[in-house]
C-alpha cells in the first residue's frame, strides 16, 4: 500500500513540474502575443514615419542649400557685373585723351570709389599693355602687361575677370579689365578689386556655427579666405570632381576630404559662376546641418522606444499578475482535487477494510466455537492424562487470546471504516479538551513535555460527538508528545477560538517537536502511513481523526516546519441539529 501511495505522489510531483513548464510557456506566449500585437506595429509605424521624415527633412535641407548657393552666386555675379559695368561706363563716357590725364583718371577713380572703395587701383593702357595713366598705391607705370596671362585673353573677349593671383604685388587680388577702341586704337581699362569686398559679400552670410561660404577657382584654389582651415590662394582639400555639375548639393564623407585636415562630414552646396570660372561653395558640418532634424528624429525615436518599453513593462507585469492568479487558482483546484482524492481513497479503503474485517470475523467466530467444543468435549473425558489436559487448555487459552487479538485488529479496522451515527450533543469543547489534557499531562511530563492551554472563555457550545472529538484530540496530543522524542523538553499549546468568519470554533494543537518535511506532511492522513517504528503505530490514528472531523462537518489541517514543530488546526462549525440529521440520513442512504 505504501508503495502505491509513493508512486501516486511521484506522479503528482511530475504533473506539478509539467504545469510549471506550461506556466512559463503560457508566459512566453502572452509576451510574444503582446509583442506581435502592439509592439511590432508600433515599431513599424514609428520607423516608417522616421524614415519618411528623414527623407523629407533632408530634401528640405538640400533645397535650402540650393537656394542659399543660388542666392550667393547671384550676389557675386551681380557684383562682378556691376564692377565691369562701372569700367565700361567710364570707358564709354570719357575720351581716352581725357582719361590719359592722371588727374582726370584720379577724379574718375574717386567718383567710382565714392560710395564704397571697391577699386584698389585703376589704370589705362594702350594696346601694347603699357600704362598710359595709373591711379593706385603701387608704382606700376613701367610694367609691361602684354606678357601677362590675362592680356591675351582680354584681346579675345573684351571683358575679363581674372582669378585671384599674386601678380607683381605679392598680395592676392583679382582684376577686371575691359577693352574698347577709340580713335582706331584699342585701349584697356584695368582695375584691381579689393579682395576684401568680394569676401565680405559672402562672408557676412552666417550659416550656423560651422557653415561658411567661399569660392574656388577651376583648379580648386581658394578665391576668398575660408573661415575654417585654409587661406586664400591655397588649394582647398575638396576634390574638384565634387563640383562636376553646374550646381548641386552633396554630402561629403570625412574620408573624401583631404587627409591632412580633420574635417567632419560636410554638406556642400555649390554653383559655378558664369564669369570667371569660379565655384561658389556653401558648406556646413553635416552634424550641424541635420542637428534639428536629428534632434526631432531622436526625440521621436526615444518617445517611440520609451512607449514600447512602457508597453512591455506593463504587459510583463500584467502577464505576471495573470499567471500568478491562474497559478493560484490551479493550486486551489489541485488542493481540492487532492482533498477529494484523499476522501475517496479513505472511503474505498474503508469499504475494503470493512469487507476484510467481516470476512475475517466469520472464521474467527468459528474458531472460537471449535475451541469451545473442545473444552466442552474434554469435560466428558475426566480420566484423560492431566498433564495433557493442562497442556491442551493452555493451547486453547492461547487460541482464545490470539482470536481476541485478531478481533481487536478487525475492530480497529472497522472503526476506521465506520460511519456510525454520531452521538451528538451540545459540547463544551474547553471542558472536553481539559479532560484529555489532564489525562495526558502525566505522560507528557515523563517526556519533559508541558501542556499549555489557552482556551477562550465563554466559548459557545458546539453540536458534536464529544467522545469522537476526544478521540481525535487524544490522537493529536499523543502524536505531539511523541514528536518530542530526542528533545529534552517542549511544550504543547492547546488553544480554542471562535472563528467568526467561518462561524465555528478553531482548535489549535501546536507542539515544539521535530516537525515534518513536506513529503511526509502530504501523507500523514493516509491510512497505514506511520513514521513510528514497527509495532508502535498502526498508521491509522490520523487517518481516523481525519475521518471523524470530516464526519463532524469540520476541517483538519496541518502546518509543520522541520525542527520547529507542528501545528494542527481543527475547525468545527456551529451547526443546528437539523443539519446533523440531514447528514446522517445521507449516510444511511449511502449504506
Amino acid at each position: 500500500m505504501n508503495q502505491k501511495l509513493a508512486i501516486s505522489t511521484d506522479s503528482h510531483q511530475h504533473s506539478g513540474d509539467l504545469r510549471k513548464m506550461s506556466y512559463s510557456g503560457l508566459y512566453r506566449r502572452f509576451i510574444l502575443l503582446t509583442l506581435i500585437c502592439s509592439v511590432l506595429p508600433l515599431l513599424l509605424v514609428g520607423w516608417v514615419i522616421y524614415l519618411n521624415y528623414s527623407k523629407f527633412a533632408s530634401s528640405r535641407m538640400v533645397d535650402s542649400f540650393q537656394r542659399r548657393v543660388e542666392y550667393n552666386r547671384r550676389i557675386v555675379e551681380l557684383f562682378l557685373k556691376e564692377r565691369s559695368s562701372d569700367l565700361q561706363l567710364v570707358a564709354f563716357t570719357h575720351s581716352v585723351d581725357y582719361l590719359g590725364e592722371h588727374s582726370n583718371l584720379k577724379r574718375v577713380f574717386d567718383i567710382l570709389n565714392r560710395q564704397d572703395a571697391y577699386f584698389m587701383d585703376l589704370g589705362l593702357m594702350n594696346e601694347h599693355g603699357k600704362h598710359v595713366a595709373y591711379v593706385g598705391p603701387y608704382d606700376l607705370m613701367e610694367f609691361d602687361y602684354s606678357v601677362t596671362f590675362w592680356f591675351k585673353e582680354l584681346q579675345a573677349k573684351g571683358v575679363y575677370v581674372s582669378d585671384m593671383f599674386m601678380g607683381y604685388r605679392k598680395t592676392p587680388h583679382f582684376i577686371i579689365a575691359i577693352r574698347w577702341s577709340d580713335g582706331g586704337k584699342n585701349w584697356i581699362l584695368r582695375a584691381t578689386i579689393d579682395t576684401e569686398f568680394l569676401a565680405s559679400l559672402i562672408r557676412n552670410i552666417k550659416i550656423g556655427e560651422s557653415g561658411e561660404v567661399f569660392m574656388l577657382n577651376g583648379e580648386g584654389v581658394y578665391q576668398t579666405n575660408p573661415q575654417f582651415g585654409g587661406k586664400i590662394m591655397e588649394k582647398s582639400p575638396f576634390p574638384m570632381q565634387t563640383f562636376d555639375r553646374e550646381s548641386g548639393v552633396q554630402v561629403l564623407e570625412a574620408r573624401q576630404i583631404g587627409i591632412d585636415q580633420i574635417y567632419p562630414s560636410q554638406v556642400i552646396g555649390y554653383a559655378w559662376l558664369k564669369e570667371p570660372q569660379w565655384v561658389l561653395v556653401v558648406k556646413q558640418d553635416y552634424a550641424e546641418a541635420f542637428r534639428d532634424v536629428n534632434h526631432a528624429n531622436t526625440s521621436a525615436l526615444i518617445f517611440l522606444h520609451v512607449s514600447i518599453l512602457a508597453i512591455l513593462i506593463v504587459s510583463f507585469i500584467t502577464t505576471q499578475h495573470m499567471i500568478k492568479a491562474i497559478k493560484k487558482r490551479d493550486e486551489e483546484a489541485e488542493q481540492l482535487s487532492r482533498q477529494l482524492m484523499q476522501t475517496s481513497k479513505l472511503a474505498s479503503l474503508g469499504e475494503l477494510a470493512a469487507g476484510v474485517a467481516h470476512e475475517i470475523n466469520n472464521p474467527l467466530a468459528i474458531i472460537l466455537t471449535e475451541n469451545q467444543i473442545i473444552r466442552d468435549v474434554s469435560e466428558d473425558y475426566p480420566d484423560v492424562n492431566s498433564e495433557f489436559k493442562a497442556e491442551m487448555f493452555d493451547s486453547l487459552t492461547q487460541i482464545d487470546d490470539q482470536v481476541q487479538r485478531c478481533n481487536h485488529i478487525t475492530h480497529n479496522l472497522l472503526r476506521f471504516a465506520r460511519r456510525s451515527e454520531a452521538v451528538t450533543e451540545m459540547v463544551d469543547l474547553n471542558a472536553c479538551l481539559q479532560e484529555v489534557v489532564e489525562l495526558l499531562e502525566k505522560r507528557g511530563k515523563s517526556s519533559g513535555v508541558e501542556f499549555v492551554t489557552d482556551l477562550q472563555k465563554d466559548l459557545p457550545r458546539v453540536l458534536t460527538d464529544p467522545s469522537q472529538f476526544q478521540q481525535v484530540f487524544v490522537n493529536l496530543a499523543a502524536n505531539a508528545i511523541d514528536a518530542h522524542d530526542g528533545k529534552p523538553y517542549g511544550t504543547i499549546r492547546v488553544s480554542t477560538r471562535v472563528n467568526d468568519k467561518n462561524r465555528g470554533v478553531e482548535i489549535r494543537i501546536a507542539d515544539t517537536g521535530s516537525g515534518m518535511p513536506r513529503e511526509i506532511l502530504d501523507k500523514i492522513f493516509d491510512p497505514f502511513f506511520t513514521t513510528k517504528p514497527v509495532g508502535r503505530g498502526t498508521g491509522l490514528g490520523l487517518s481516523i481523526s481525519y475521518n471523524i472531523i470530516k464526519e463532524l462537518g469540520g476541517v483538519i489541517s496541518v502546518q509543520s516546519e522541520v525542527g520547529k514543530g507542528t501545528e494542527f488546526k481543527i475547525f468545527l462549525p456551529f451547526r443546528s441539529s437539523e443539519d446533523l440529521r440531514k447528514s446522517s440520513e445521507d449516510i444511511h442512504e449511502r449504506n
Binding site: N361, N362, L364, L368, T369, I373, D376, S420
Partner: protein, 135 residues
C-alpha cells in the same frame, strides 16, 4: 420464576456459515438449549412459521435474503419472537438499526459463548414475561 427455568429456551440459529451453525448448535445444546440451525433467511422464515421458537440468533450478512429483511418478516409474523442480531460487520450502527426494527439486542462476531448465553437468557426471560403479560 422457577416455572420459567424449567422450560428450556427454543433457539433458532440463522447463519450462512454451516460450520458456525453446526458448532454453535453443539455448544448451545450442551448448555441445555433446544437448538435448531438453518443457513439462509428463507428457511428461517419457514421454520418459525412451522414451529414455535423463543429466541432467534440472526446473522446480518447472508446471501439471498439478508438479516435485516429476515428480521422484518419475522417480527411481522411472530411479534413476540426475540431476535439477537449477530454481525461480523462490527458496526454498532447496523446493530442499532436492527434494534429499531425490533431486535432485542445485538452482538459482534466473534462472540464469546458466555456473552451469547447471557444475551439468549435475557431475551428468553423477556419473551416469557411478555407472554405472561400478553393475552
Amino acid at each position: 420464576m422457577k416455572e420459567i427455568e424449567m422450560r428450556s429456551a427454543r433457539v433458532l440459529l440463522v447463519d450462512d456459515e454451516v460450520t458456525f451453525t453446526v458448532n454453535m448448535s453443539k455448544i448451545l445444546s450442551r448448555r441445555g438449549y433446544d437448538v435448531t440451525a438453518v443457513n439462509d433467511g428463507e428457511s428461517a422464515i419457514r421454520t418459525i412459521e412451522d414451529e414455535e421458537y423463543d429466541v432467534v440468533v440472526l446473522d446480518l450478512r447472508m446471501p439471498g435474503m439478508d438479516g435485516m429483511a429476515t428480521l422484518k418478516v419475522m417480527k411481522r409474523k411472530r411479534p413476540l419472537l426475540e431476535v439477537i442480531i449477530l454481525t461480523g460487520h462490527g458496526s454498532v450502527e447496523s446493530g442499532i438499526l436492527g434494534m429499531h426494527i425490533g431486535a432485542f439486542d445485538y452482538a459482534m462476531k466473534p462472540i464469546q459463548i458466555g456473552e451469547l448465553q447471557e444475551k439468549i437468557n435475557q431475551a428468553f426471560e423477556r419473551k416469557l414475561m411478555r407472554e405472561g403479560k400478553g393475552p
